[in-house]
Amino acid sequence: MRIRVRWKGPLFLTGAVFLPLVIGAVTPQIVDRARLFAVELASPLFKLQDRTLLFIKEKAAYFLDIPRLKRENASLRLAVDALKREGVEMEELRQEKRRLEKLLNLKNMSAPAGVAARVIARDSSPWVQYVVIDKGVRDGIRENTALLSNGGLVGKVVSASRSASRAILLIDSESRVSVLDQRTRDVGLVEGSEAQILKMTYLDRNAKIEVGDMVVSSGLGGVYPKGLPVGKIQMVGEEEPGGEFKYAIVAPFAVFSQLEEVLCVMQSTEN
């Protein structure tokens, strides 16, 4: 008696399930292009949704704030008068600075060029920490453009389409930033983790870092400008007892769950 084994169905199913994984591994460029196309395609919808939410938020805040705004308006009028007087003094000082710079033959040290962008979408996967911003190649955004928020460093752009870009956040497991302790100048590497905290690794055993020290980007690697605040040291420990390296847990300054706007820094000041 022959035993009939049903193998075509399960085999087809297994092949179909693993086919995208194989495609992703063999042709990452095609997958990346397809993803950029998907972001480009979806970005108008994301932008529309973002604008609608912003409009509703603004209108609600406006109506709720009217009494407070009236009080604030009166005090601001007084402040404006004082600022006008200060403005005149500032203009005098600016002209004086220009004259002195010319005199000392100093170069004009300008801040890195930046473009403000809105976060229009977040990654829908529970395993990764990426966002989509509403600025792309058209606005001068390129791969590795650093992103800042009010609190400090947020992440960097990994791919840019014409009008939108995808960016990796510092708390993603694949994120790495070279940093230094602002007080002791000890250099380390800040890595993201699944627990959404930052871990500073490769710290020398003799490093004198302490809880509460501020961590800033070191500028090494040329992606992130030097001196951008990253976070504060929360805990210091040893990778292995008596080992070569120490590690530190860093509490980031940026509030990643409430990220709405970011500043895209076009070039590294280090370069």
Binding site: V17, P20, L21, G24, A25, V39, A42, S124, W127, S257
Partner: protein, 172 residues
């Protein structure tokens, strides 16, 4: 009648895809977020046709793979794995009971997330097999079940009258 049902189902699916890719990420609590695709899949398996869900899960996974930055194919594989669990449950259990639906939603979403976590750890060395990854999967499955408890009645109210009307019963 059948066309009206299909149109409503497609519209519901499009709404779910839009909400899953744009709104749900903002509802994350400590990294865990509900998965509306599974809420829809459970509704579809229990109220429409359980035979098609692996195919639908495959397509939804592909859509998510295109919009995420994870290694391509992980979402597709994990959704298909979850749908297979759901398929096995839907065939064997009483599809009319609400607690069975919620338990199935938890089981398939947890199976999917656990399969995804394992694939992720295997493929990408940046993700160590940390307990956070698996506890997040468990939290997300719970969150999905809670979201399903709220959304499933809405799906039922909106789509079930049409579905019931379109069914044909053999009386003899």
């Amino acid at each position: 009648m059948r066309n009206a049902v299909d149109r409503k189902l497609i519209l519901a699916l499009l709404c779910v895809i839009w909400a899953e890719l744009s709104i749900v990420p903002f509802a994350a609590v400590r990294g865990a977020r509900p998965d509306l695709f599974f809420v829809f899949l459970v509704f579809y398996a229990f109220s429409v046709d359980w035979r098609r869900i692996v195919g639908i899960a495959f397509c939804l996974g592909l859509a998510k793979d295109l919009m995420t930055n994870l290694a391509f194919g992980i979402e597709t594989a994990s959704y298909a794995a979850g749908a297979m669990v759901l398929h096995a449950i839907a065939v064997r259990l009483d599809r009319e009971k609400k607690w069975v639906r919620l338990a199935s939603l938890f089981a398939c979403s947890w199976a999917s997330l656990a399969a995804g976590s394992m694939l992720l750890v295997t493929i990408n060395q940046a993700y160590g097999a940390s307990p956070f990854l698996f506890s997040k999967a468990f939290q997300a499955a719970l969150y999905t079940t809670a979201a399903g408890g709220i959304l499933a009645p809405a799906f039922d109210r909106w789509l079930k009258p049409l579905l019931t009307g379109s069914k044909q019963y053999e009386l003899f």
